[in-house]
């Protein structure tokens, strides 16, 4: 088999890692990145809940458009957006298949389409909100909203672990790729190769977790030594953390515009109602 290998900048493991970092730390900027995290969480709650109070397809469609506009304004990266689109398309294909196979007709598809569209609005709002919140802001917002400190910290630490886990995974997979020969007969549609890699991906968890567990021991000791547990009992740390949060004109403007748009969506729904029969 002749091959011509090149260095790829997209769809490689390195790219996935960079995209995760860009997404997690909102390095692309965007409308919501400059806002108070509490306002972003509020905005998210409004957008995520809005579609569930109606069965009017016009309203849902308008909300979908608003959420999509928000995704553009938040400068969501290609990786998560791509995953969202793939997920949505697969969902639609699956719905159509399921409906026809189980003897339903188009009404079943439309019924399920409504739920899918609502979930789509929710997902788009999540993308826009969480891509714009770096872990620190998110965890501060959670603290301000009286979530337990351990939850707030888990969010921020989870984000920090992500690139590490991706890198560990990439190293282990590379080890397998170099040291274990993939099957020589590829089989129909290369099923042997697919099975081989699926098995390897599962086996990879053993070394990844052992290696990570070893390094986490230091982290836990360091957390203890730097007063992490102390902060869960003593309220002063929380006061300092959330003391820097300020609601500004941008936050109020965005919330007002969103409220207006949501109201507009409902108004449009009332004007041109479209319900599944």
């Amino acid at each position: 088999m002749s091959v011509a290998r090149v260095q790829r900048d997209v769809l490689s493991v390195e790219w996935v890692k960079l995209e995760l970092i860009r997404t997690a730390y909102a390095t692309r900027g965007g409308l919501f990145a400059g806002m108070d995290p509490r306002a972003v969480v509020g905005w998210y709650a409004a957008m995520a809940l809005a579609p569930w109070f109606t069965h009017n397809l016009t309203t849902v469609a308008c909300l979908f458009v608003v959420a999509a506009a928000a995704v553009v304004l938040a400068r969501v990266g290609p990786l998560v957006l791509g995953l969202f689109v793939i997920g949505l398309v697969l969902e639609l294909v699956y719905l159509a298949l399921a409906a026809t196979l189980f003897g339903g007709d188009l009404t079943a598809v439309v019924a399920l389409l409504e739920v899918t569209a609502k979930l789509g609005v929710l997902s788009l709002a999540s993308l826009a909100a969480f891509v714009s919140l770096d872990p620190e802001k998110l965890s501060d917002a959670l603290l301000a909203l009286r979530f337990p400190p351990a939850v707030a910290f888990a969010v921020s630490y989870g984000y920090r672990m992500m690139p590490i886990l991706v890198e560990e995974f990439a190293t282990v997979m590379e080890g397998y790729r170099l040291r274990q020969l993939p099957p020589q007969q590829r089989g129909l549609l290369g099923w042997r190769v697919v099975v081989h890699w699926a098995v390897v991906a599962v086996k990879a968890f053993y070394p990844i977790f052992l290696n990570t567990a070893k390094s986490v021991r230091t982290t836990v000791e360091a957390l203890e030594a730097r007063g992490f547990t102390f902060a869960t009992i003593d309220p002063r740390g929380r006061a300092i953390r959330i003391g820097s949060l300020r609601l500004g004109p941008l936050d109020l403007a965005v919330l007002a515009v969103t409220a207006a748009l949501v109201a507009g969506c409902y108004a449009a729904g009332a004007q041109w109602p479209l319900h599944r029969s």
């Binding site: 091959v3 090149v6 590379e174 274990q180 986490v216 203890e224 007063g227 003593d234 309220p235 740390g237």
Partner: protein, 575 residues
């Protein structure tokens, strides 16, 4: 130095939960306020456990069997807690990267003061950043930092709690020499100007000689002695027994019969000159020919070649960061190549390109006659083996044996069992064959990865920092093993910061700087070339520095070669 104790341990014993023996045994110890203590001792002598009793991790976090008492700054650690002790003792770990828990440097440093709800957290953070010399990095993300910067960030984060004692666990292990010197300079400044008591765990006698004011030798869970540095270094034999060979200059002077314990090559040179002027020592031509490539080079086969190779990576911002820039290099059969240069010089990238794990963005790499672009990585792995810097990253299976046999078995090599037995025997790991690689000691882990590489039976063996974070004994072991391998591997390349490895093992040194080959020469010529050394931030072994100071030609690479330059004149005989 004031005389009051800041750390005092009395009859301290400790046993980890589930362990068969005490890790610390009847430790009696006093560390005076304002001291700079180097804790030394072989692997498993209880150094780290001892230091963890200072900040209360033992016994509050590790709740084993604790006996005796430790007082830190007047507080009984048993009565206190890890959180409260953290304002007296700061601890920087050997794997300091895992100590960083926040995304930006400023957040990381502020983490402690904010958790404790200190009103002056902002001032403390700024002060700690400045003390550690990283104020300009405050808004960087921690994953953008180099190793040295990350270490200083970890240091700043403990300084923010204004501790009286700072414990640093093996700073040299994971840093390149330039970064290690930077860390020590900062510690030294804290000690001098801010009166902070510094405790470091250290294997390298050169750093001890240069920075520490006293040395605590641990053996088998108890202190053997605690002496001022000069007295401690004079007990070279005892230190060597516990895995801390004397600095080369001390060894060299002992060999020459010159009295004194020099702290640096310059001091050693002065002592040698005095001895010469007194007539106790005379120069002679080197009696033994220094090691050179004697064979009149038959045209050797090229094992790997890079022609006009450029490579780089995308950054978070999306721009291309060049790492290797139009590089030409040919590796010949029989070469023992040391690849040196500072962090970020492109050593790892070059090795991964040579092994065909990655292909260059432009230019060609030819491995064993094959253009790496035309062959899959798993096929190229049959010609080149690359061993990663962190050995545990190569352990994919639950035992060393399974890891070693993974490659040959999946390729249907005949008689795998015999092959694996032979290799395990060769790296002296037969007794550990059924253990998980991660549970072995540092030196054993290195040898296990070496076994994995040997089982691949490559023409080109590439090792990334094989002696990093090893104590001196295990390091010499690995170097000796590399030397033994020369028969079965056509060409070995080692990326390293360890100039002793370069001096003792390599026949050829390739100096990388900014993605270019800055020099391609022999170790002896490299250490005699001040321009290249300065540009690549390389520090030659002490014996070579001493040779330069004394103007010896050819430059000695080992203590024996240095000794060959001199004749000792017996006392009483006129010169």
């Amino acid at each position: 130095m004031r005389d009051d104790p800041v750390v005092e341990a009395v009859d301290l014993s400790f046993r980890y939960p589930g362990a068969d023996a005490d890790t610390l045994r009847d430790v009696d110890l006093t560390i005076r306020r304002g001291d700079f203590v180097a804790v030394v001792g072989g692997n498993g002598s209880g150094k780290t456990t001892l230091c963890k009793t200072f900040n209360g991790l033992v016994p509050h976090y590790w709740s084993g069997e604790f006996a005796g008492a430790v007082h830190v700054a007047g507080t009984d650690t048993w009565e206190s807690s890890v959180a409260r002790l953290s304002s007296s003792v700061g601890y920087v770990y050997q794997d300091f990267q895992n100590q960083l828990v926040r995304p930006t440097v400023r957040d990381e440093v502020a983490f402690g003061p904010v958790n404790f709800g200190l009103a002056d957290h902002a001032e403390r953070t700024q002060e700690a950043l400045e003390k550690a010399g990283i104020a300009h990095l405050a808004d960087r993300f921690v994953w953008q930092l180099s190793g040295g910067q990350a270490h200083l960030t970890a240091l700043a984060s403990v300084l923010a709690l204004r501790p009286e004692v700072v414990v640093v666990d093996e700073p040299v292990a994971e840093l390149d020499p330039a970064a290690a010197v930077e860390v020590y300079e900062r510690l030294s400044e804290l000690h001098r100007e801010h009166g902070v008591t510094v405790v470091t765990i250290e294997h390298h006698a050169e750093f001890i000689a240069r920075y520490a004011s006293s040395v605590l030798l641990m053996s088998d869970g108890a202190p053997v002695w605690h002496l001022p540095t000069a007295e401690a270094l004079a007990r070279a034999g005892e230190l060597a027994e516990h895995g801390i060979p004397a600095p080369q200059v001390v060894e060299a002077l002992a060999r020459l019969g010159v009295e004194g314990v020099p702290r640096s090559p310059a001091e050693a040179a002065a002592l040698v000159r005095t001895a010469e002027s007194r007539g106790a020592l005379r120069r002679s031509g080197p009696r033994t020919e220094p090691r050179t490539r004697t064979t009149p080079a038959p045209p050797a086969r090229a094992v790997a070649a890079a022609r006009g190779v450029s490579h780089g990576y995308r950054s978070v911002g999306g721009d291309l960061q060049p790492v290797i820039d139009d590089l030409h290099l040919e590796l010949l059969e029989g070469d023992r190549v040391a690849l040196v240069g500072g962090n970020g010089a492109g050593k790892t990238t070059l090795m991964r390109l040579l092994a065909g794990i990655q292909v260059p963005r432009s230019g060609t790499v030819v491995l064993d006659g094959v253009d790496t672009r035309t062959e899959r990585p798993h096929r190229l792995a049959e010609r080149a083996a690359y061993l990663t810097q962190r050995p545990e990253r190569m352990f994919l299976k639950a035992s060393v044996r399974e890891d070693v046999e993974l490659f040959p078995r999946s390729r249907g090599v005949p008689d795998v069992d015999a092959l694996v037995d032979r290799i395990l025997d060769r790296v002296r790991l037969t007794a550990f064959a059924d253990r998980d690689g991660r549970t072995l000691s540092g030196g054993q882990q290195r040898r296990a990865t070496l076994a994995i590489g040997l089982a691949m039976r490559p023409a080109l063996l590439l090792l990334d920092e094989p002696t990093a974070s090893l104590d001196v004994g295990s390091r010499d072991d690995v170097i000796a093993m590399l030397a033994e391998l020369s028969g079965s591997i056509a060409c070995t390349v080692v990326a390293t910061h360890d100039m002793h490895l370069v001096a003792e093992w390599a026949t050829r040194v390739v100096v990388l700087d900014g993605g270019h080959v800055l020099a391609d020469t022999t170790p002896r010529a490299l250490f005699a070339d001040p321009d290249v050394l300065a540009r690549a931030h390389l520090v030659p072994p002490q014996v070579a520095q001493l040779g330069t100071e004394l103007g010896l030609d050819p430059l000695p690479l080992t203590v024996a070669e240095l000794a060959a330059h001199f004749t000792t004149v017996p006392l009483g005989v006129p010169a």
